[in-house]
Amino acid sequence: MIEVDVRLNVGSFSLDVAFANGTGVTALFGQSGSGKSLTLSIIAGLTRPDAGYVRLDGESLVDVEARVFVPVSRRRIGLVFQDSNLFPHMSVRQNLLYGRWFAPRGERRINFDAIVETLGITNLVSRSPTRLSGGERQRVAIGRALLSCPRLLLLDEPLAALDMERKLEILPLIERVRDEFDVPIIYVTHAVEEVVRLASRVVILDAGRVKSVGAPTEAFNRLDYAPAANRFDRSSVLSATVDESCLAHGLTKLKHSAGTIWIAGSAGPCGSVVRVVVKATDVILSLAPPHEISARSILWGRVANIQFEGPIATIAIELRDDGQLLAAITRGALEDLALKVGSEIYALFKTAALDERSIGMASSQVIR
């Protein structure tokens, strides 16, 4: 259990963040400059706050009022950076075992072979880290942090420096780490898809303040939340249930109270809850129930809010019973459809537009 309540001024930027997390993955989400990496660095002990405290399992790691500051090396918090920072003068095995050596003997509960096997790096251990690919390096970095048997694992945009293919290769590994090893994780990212796929809780930061905390579907779907700097980053998170009629043509049908969503591939047994990220730019709106159209996912709702940004209008559609969907359309289309707040509308999006990162099983704790 980590409790954070800190304030820090750096130049003109002011950070004032408070949140707590239990088990599983907590995502710290925000655009660059929102203070998420700074918050992480305070938790790790690399930066001192001006005021406030960080507590881990009841122990103060830093408490400005009580003049407590535990140095980085004694916090036992694993940290994985964006670029893996492996020691170039050591083999992969030596890198992996580095932190383990410093962990108290009684706390070395995480097994070397289990980590190496889970992360798929068995055949890399005798190599030099300078001869690994970006994805391999990052897997070793995660293994190295885990083998120090940390009380908390901090991942600072661990996928940001990797291409899409590598991201899709490492995401399931982080899921396995989450489910197999009992280490709470704080995951910093600006990708909604990664939050949805991994996190059971998300803390949304904006300009140094906490905007919203909760399960990803709730936190992202607050109507007053306009998250991203530009329309390409705007997405909505929907949660839906795998339907009875699973898997036809390798597709899965999801049931949502406002309609049907089709996704490619399988998404677990019938009845399990799946989260889907839909980009605002992938959504098409229609006044009439659409027929003879290739888009398979159709949801019905009412316009709740319209925001303008030059020639583009971002429309928040309140779905029946559950959540909202953002759609970015042109002002011209808006006028032709005569949309205003309260209008009933059908929202369509392409199954092919949803990449693998966009579809997340809620973490095991949440399903149960």
Partner: protein, 238 residues
């Protein structure tokens, strides 16, 4: 000057003595100052402490002072009648007119070069590697021995070679501090100087000159090879 021909490469006993003495003094000066050089370079590169600018200035002083001045300061500090000399003599440590004094003079003169090269290589280490080490549970001292020191090895080698080369060529501070005594403090440089002062000494001076060129060249090539190997091992591609 008449070029010597026949006995060019037959070194006399006196010349051998000067060469052996030079190598011994330079080796001892380098090895003895190495730990101090590493600690000073690391402290200047990475740690904050009061008086850092002053320490930096003192380290670099021998580089800008005339060598004779440095030698005279050593004489005033460590000489038989110097500030610390008498106390050291009671402990059985005497520097004046001894080869050990020559080693001290060479170490002091080579120190700024040594520290400069080492400091650059400590500064070049990615700070995030140190942070990674600390988040993995190593305090700064362990981090120094496991991360900083091994990664600075190429720079440490370069610094040591530079100090060694400087020690071989040192003349001004040495001759001022411990004079020019054959067999005790007369290094190659001092011997060459002496030979040029006496009639018929040109041949000896020429032979010692060639020898010192070879030693210097050999040292530089060795450092180049060792450094390249170390860099290859560290895979300096990032």
């Amino acid at each position: 000057m008449e070029l010597p021909s026949v006995a060019l490469f037959e070194l006399s006993a006196a010349e051998w003595t000067a060469i052996r003495l030079s190598l011994r003094i330079a080796t001892v000066a380098t090895l003895a100052s190495l730990p101090f050089g590493i600690v000073t370079a690391y402290a200047l590169a990475r740690r904050q402490f009061p008086g850092k600018t002053l320490v930096n200035g003192l380290v670099h002083l021998p580089l800008v002072l005339p060598p004779v001045v440095t030698g005279f300061v050593l004489l005033m500090l460590l000489g038989r009648k110097g500030v610390f000399g008498p106390y050291l003599a009671e402990l059985g440590i005497v520097f004046s007119f001894r080869w050990t004094g020559a080693a001290v003079a060479c170490a002091v003169m080579g120190f700024p070069l040594m520290v400069r090269a080492m400091r650059l290589s400590f500064e070049a280490i990615d700070r995030r590697l140190e942070l990674a080490s600390e988040t993995l549970g190593a305090n700064w001292l362990w981090t120094f021995f496991l991360v900083n020191l091994p990664l600075a090895v190429p720079g440490i080698i370069v610094g040591a070679i530079l100090a060694f080369a400087k020690a071989l060529g040192e003349f001004g501070a040495t001759i001022t501090f411990v004079s020019n005594i054959p067999g005790e403090t007369q290094t190659i440089s001092a011997a060459i100087y002496s030979y040029t002062q006496v009639p018929g000494g040109d041949e000896s001076a020429m032979r010692l000159t060639i020898v010192s060129v070879f030693i210097a060249l050999f040292a530089l090539m060795a450092s180049e090879i060792v450094q390249r190997r170390a860099e290859k091992r560290l895979g300096n591609v990032e």
